[in-house]
């Protein structure tokens, strides 16, 4: 005798079918995601001259020329010229240039200096070449830039050399030194 299906099989099949039928309540048809737009806005660099580069009061000996150098670290060197004895720190004495830089903390910056500039005598208009311009930052030892500290500040120093040929007229010589400072 063959086994027959139970009479309640149709009920079971129905139950099974309902169990597997798509359940609309389980469908998730909405979704949400959050992203963001982000940027870093940096304040511009600000540079201020604290002290100008000065070679002080110098004189050349009779019959020859000479040169005066001020290093970025403040050391001075005079060849063939004599330096005036100055009382205290004044325009009479030689000193490096000092610039103060402010901007975003911990950011590096570059400094661009000309290879040389020409100083002109205020009275005579005579020219003197100022060259070997170089800089160093207080916070780094890089040769062409610096790094702002946590407070967003740094100092950098500029030195150079002036060549004084034989026969240079007595005068006060001044030059404009263009310094460009920019973020990296």
């Amino acid at each position: 005798m063959k086994a027959s299906l139970p009479e309640r099989l149709d009920v079971l099949i129905l139950a099974l079918t309902i169990g597997l039928w798509p359940d609309p309540s389980k469908a998730q048809d909405i979704a949400k995601s959050q992203g963001q737009a982000e940027t870093r806005v940096v304040a511009p660099l600000s540079t201020a001259l604290r002290e100008a580069l000065s070679f002080g009061s110098i004189s050349v000996g009779a019959g020859n020329g000479g040169s005066a150098s001020v290093s970025w670290d403040g050391t001075t060197r005079f060849l063939g010229v004599s330096q005036a004895h100055c009382s205290g720190r004044s325009d009479c004495s030689a000193h490096r240039a000092v610039f103060e830089v402010t901007g975003e903390s911990e950011r590096t910056y570059s400094v661009s200096l000309p290879r040389s500039v020409v100083a002109r005598g205020e009275r005579t208009g005579s020219a003197l070449a100022v060259d070997s311009l170089e800089m160093r930052s207080l916070n780094t030892s890089a040769r062409s830039g610096g790094r702002l500290d946590k407070a967003g500040k740094d100092l950098f120093f500029v030195g150079g050399s002036v060549n004084v040929p034989f026969g240079t007229a007595t005068d006060i010589y001044r030059a404009e030194l263009p310094v460009t400072v920019f973020y990296n």
Binding site: I30, G35, T39, V41, A43
Partner: protein, 189 residues
């Protein structure tokens, strides 16, 4: 004979009951028809790092092109569009090809002030066809055509313009961008 027939009937009933219990107790099978729509953020919309004197703007297109106005680009993470992916999980292993239609809405606060920096985001753009330029809050229709697998995806890029006014200092600016998606239709091909 009657005794044997009753025994076999009980056996059939027991087998079916056990099968039914197994099917309903198995989570994978119990939820096999639970379709699910999700949106995944792949990449933030990044306007990069720039310096601005007073006010300026940077536009990053959905393709990644950058246009600056009165800002200076600086070292840092490069500007790039954001990217999201819409994922449709049909909830079962059927491979009947379908076209999935999803409506998405992108929204963001109009203005954010972070210390001394005001930022406004505008000129929303996407790389979806017919929706190159859109506005925040606009419904955008996105289609996943010929979906033949259980999970089908569609990614899209988001670009925008950021207008910045700097009153003092500088700052990191973060503007939240919400993407809401709604399943509109699943049509058999």
């Amino acid at each position: 004979m009657l005794f044997r027939q009753n025994t076999q009937s009980k056996l059939w009933v027991s087998l079916l009951a056990i099968t039914l219990s197994l099917i309903l107790s198995c989570p994978a099978l119990a939820q096999r028809n639970s379709s699910k729509l999700t949106v995944v953020k792949n990449k933030e919309l990044n306007f990069g790092t720039f310096m601005v004197f007073g006010s300026g703007s940077r536009r990053v297109s959905a393709a990644g092109a950058v246009v600056d106005q009165a800002v200076v680009d600086l070292e840092g993470s490069p500007a790039s569009p954001g990217q999201f992916t819409v994922v449709y999980d049909r909830g079962n292993a059927a491979y009947r090809p379908v076209d999935v239609t999803v409506e998405i809405v992108i929204s963001a606060p109009a203005q954010v002030r972070e210390r001394g920096v005001d930022a406004r985001i505008s000129s929303l753009s996407t790389n979806l066809e017919d929706h190159g330029q859109v506005v925040f809050g606009q419904a955008i229709t996105l289609q996943i055509r010929n979906c033949r697998s259980r999970r089908c995806t569609r990614s899209f890029n988001v670009g925008a313009q950021l207008n910045v006014s700097r009153h003092f200092g500088g700052n990191d600016v973060v503007i939240p961008i919400d993407v809401d998606a709604r399943l509109v239709a699943v049509d058999a091909r």
